[in-house]
């Protein structure tokens, strides 16, 4: 298939691996930011084609995984309201979360309890559902990074144009650079090189990574998702580290332009503003999320269903058990978690990283012999 086959060409993959081996002279730790990249690496076994000196750390770039459990609990409560149609991306359906301090729920269970939860592929479908069900309140669970936020904004725009008063958005939108900054600035930071998430950069442009590379003296290579993209990204990153450079480089130039997607940025700015945001695993980070601007608060489900929000902050008990927070920041390898493949597996996940198609634990479970070494069989 054109535009895919070329990027999975075994000959090119072999050549890139040889080039990487040639330039690697010492141990390096590189973090790939996006969960899509993590899955690609494990699906194709790319980490096993690399010289043993290179360790890949898996980053926090899984929107489902970093959604704070308090928001998830609010989502369950909203979805269980009579007269609410709750729309969500399919990825979110099986993420477990606490409900009223005792029960663990996910959206399958919410459905079984009578909640009208619907999977949608785009937030615009939720708007359509709201249009066709004026007697219902329709809530879309707007989670996502900079890649998904513009589409959410487009849906708000559509709801506004249609004059819908029954359409609400439960927003948990996150921004990569502030989170990356929190990781790079932490005293026990291990990240020596960064593969930045190509699709996020296609919206936001390359500038934030020029600044990060300079401020933290760490190479940032904007990288795509196909095997040859990832290997080329790794090659460029290693080359910089070996040469003692820390620059922004754009491996994914066929998609990412330096200014990003101006129209998408404009649309996001219109409805959303940067705010402090809670991240699962990382805690609250200043300026790391996108929330509704005050003038659009009538679309905000958190405002609409304020009475359902329990204000007292408590750490849900499942978070004591699940170590996804450490996995999300690259401090814990999924297979090193004591629960991995034992009490935690895709059928009974302890946390989001075992559920999401972009979660690192799910990737290891799926592609790595449930945690046992690949050559062990």
């Amino acid at each position: 298939m054109q535009m895919i086959g070329e990027f999975r060409n075994p000959e090119l993959v072999k050549n890139l691996c040889r080039s990487i081996s040639r330039v690697t002279t010492q141990k390096w730790k590189i973090m790939e930011i996006c969960g899509g990249q993590t899955h690609s690496i494990l699906h194709y076994g790319l980490d096993q084609l690399l010289p043993p000196e290179i360790e890949l750390l898996h980053g926090p770039g899984c929107p489902v995984c970093v959604t704070p459990s308090q928001i998830l609990e609010l989502a369950f409560k909203i979805a269980l309201q009579k007269d609410v149609i709750f729309c969500t991306f399919a990825d979110m359906i099986r993420v477990p979360g606490e409900y009223r301090g005792s029960q663990t729920l996910d959206f399958y269970k919410v459905r079984a309890m009578g909640g009208d939860v619907r999977m949608v592929q785009s937030p615009l479908e939720a708007v359509n559902i709201a249009k066709n069900n004026p007697e219902k309140e329709v809530v879309f669970f707007a989670v996502g990074f900079e890649t998904t936020t513009p589409v959410n904004a487009l849906a708000v725009n559509e709801a506004e144009k249609l004059g819908l008063s029954n359409m609400f958005f439960l927003v948990s939108q996150v921004l990569v650079p502030p989170a990356l900054e929190a990781l790079l600035g932490s005293p026990d930071n291990q990240i020596q090189g960064v593969l930045a998430a190509g699709h996020v950069c296609s919206i936001m442009g390359t500038k934030p990574y020029v600044d990060l590379a300079e401020k933290y003296q760490v190479p940032c290579v904007i990288t795509g998702f196909e095997p040859t993209d990832l290997l080329q990204g790794i090659y460029l990153c290693i080359k910089q580290m070996e040469d003692g450079r820390s620059e922004m480089e754009n491996q994914y130039s066929r998609v990412v332009k330096s200014d990003g997607n101006f129209k998408a940025q404009e649309l996001m700015q219109k409805y959303f503003q940067v705010k402090e945001q809670g991240w699962r695993g990382l805690g609250r980070i200043a300026d790391s999320g996108y929330g509704f601007r005050n003038e659009y608060a009538h679309f905000d489900a958190e405002v609409k269903y304020q009475k359902l929000y329990e204000s007292e902050t408590r750490t849900p008990s499942c978070e004591f058990v699940c170590r996804s927070g450490e996995v999300l920041v690259g401090r814990l390898k999924p297979t090193d978690c004591e629960h991995f493949g034992k009490i935690c597996n895709p059928s009974s996940p302890l946390g989001p990283t075992m559920v999401s198609t972009e979660g690192a634990c799910a990737a290891y479970f799926k592609y790595r012999n449930q945690g046992r070494g690949i050559n062990e069989a």
Binding site: Q121, E125, R368, N369
Partner: protein, 347 residues
């Protein structure tokens, strides 16, 4: 059978009502005006509580299945073709020639009778083409909202034509895995028209009967050890189940698995792996190595299995039995079954 003469019911009802399931006049009309003319045969015409069938000489195979597909009509088929082919394919996987079908319909109040008629016609057409007789059945109507249009439950009876038992326990080390056609068409065709996922793709379901292909293999005396139709869970589920049941390890070469370009593209967009996506006219044959090439040639000469090819082999298991996928870069990964349904990803 004269389908073209099938009368539209003159009952004055254009929608299914609870009264159609009440066993009274409307139930009778539904049977006499919709089901009987389409399925017409001597057993059904007796309008008895059950069908009394003549003796069959060989051993019997029996299978039962429920069909709840949404939407009822999808590119390449509908719930009717699916119900017939699905049941016959389960028989074919036992090496049995399909003989009789029993069908039970659960209809939702408010279903347009025209839609029912269209599905019934497609059932009749498929059954006729596959030489299977619908000998008995049942209809129930449930309140609106208690089912999505209609559900069909089937039981099929067939006569075993295979000289040896075809089952996972017959699988041996050294056997070859043969895939009958390209994969993932049914799942993606249905997804392409499901509310919330609609996309234009031109993908049509592979929904079809597998008996002709299996019959050809049996007639040519191919040493078939096991067959499995790759429905829900796709090739991944089928191969994993056979590996577990037989206690042998399977190695599958990813590059050898044919996938249509538009199907692969749709899978890419939704973040799905084609090996996990459902099929309705595709099977995995586990055959003796000495017969593998011949098996492929025979299948390739058949309608619907022209893309048949060898995709891997069976080896002794070291420890518990697994399926291994060998990828294009030489990497090997173990296949695990997905937990629930295939969930498309966010970005």
């Amino acid at each position: 059978m004269k389908l073209e003469n099938c009368p539209i019911p003159q009952s004055g009802y254009s929608l299914i009502t609870l009264a159609h399931g009440g066993g009274g006049l409307l139930s009778h009309r539904l049977f006499e005006q919709v089901f009987l003319p389409a399925f017409d045969n001597e057993y059904l015409r007796e309008t008895h509580d059950g069908a009394v069938l003549p003796q069959i000489h060989g051993p019997l195979a029996i299978t039962t299945d429920a069909h709840v597909v949404q939407p009822l009509v999808f590119p390449g088929g509908d719930i009717g073709t699916l119900a017939v082919c699905g049941s016959l394919n389960d028989l074919a996987m036992c090496g049995a020639e399909p003989k009789y079908l029993s069908m039970s319909f659960i209809l939702e109040e408010g279903l347009p009778i025209e839609v029912l008629q269209k599905i019934v016609e497609s059932i009749a057409k498929t059954a006729r083409a596959e030489k299977v007789v619908i000998v008995t059945g049942d209809t129930k109507v449930v309140e609106k909202g208690r089912c999505e249009g209609m559900y069909i439950s089937t039981t099929a009876i067939g006569e075993i034509k295979a000289p040896n038992k075809i089952c996972p326990q017959q699988i041996q080390s050294g056997d070859v895995l043969i895939l009958s056609s390209d994969i993932a068409r049914h799942g993606m065709a249905v997804m392409s028209c499901r509310p919330g996922f609609q996309f234009e793709s031109g993908i049509t379901s592979d929904c079809g009967s597998l008996w002709p292909a299996v019959q050809a293999l049996l007639q040519e005396k191919v040493q078939i050890h096991c067959l499995r139709d790759l429905t829900r869970g796709g090739l991944a589920a089928g191969a994993t189940e056979l590996s577990k049941a037989s206690g042998f390890e399977f190695e599958v070469h990813e590059e050898q698995i044919p996938v249509q370009n538009n199907v692969r593209a749709a899978c890419e967009i939704f973040g799905l792996d084609p090996i996990h996506v459902a099929n309705e006219g595709c099977f995995l044959a586990v055959v003796a190595a000495t017969d593998a090439d011949r098996c492929v040639r025979i299948l390739q000469a058949q309608n619907g299995t022209a893309l048949a090819r060898k995709i891997g082999f069976v080896t002794e298991a070291k420890g518990s039995a697994h399926v291994w996928i060998k990828g294009a870069f030489g990497q090997r990964r173990m296949l695990i079954l997905p937990t629930g349904e295939q969930l498309p990803r966010i970005c």
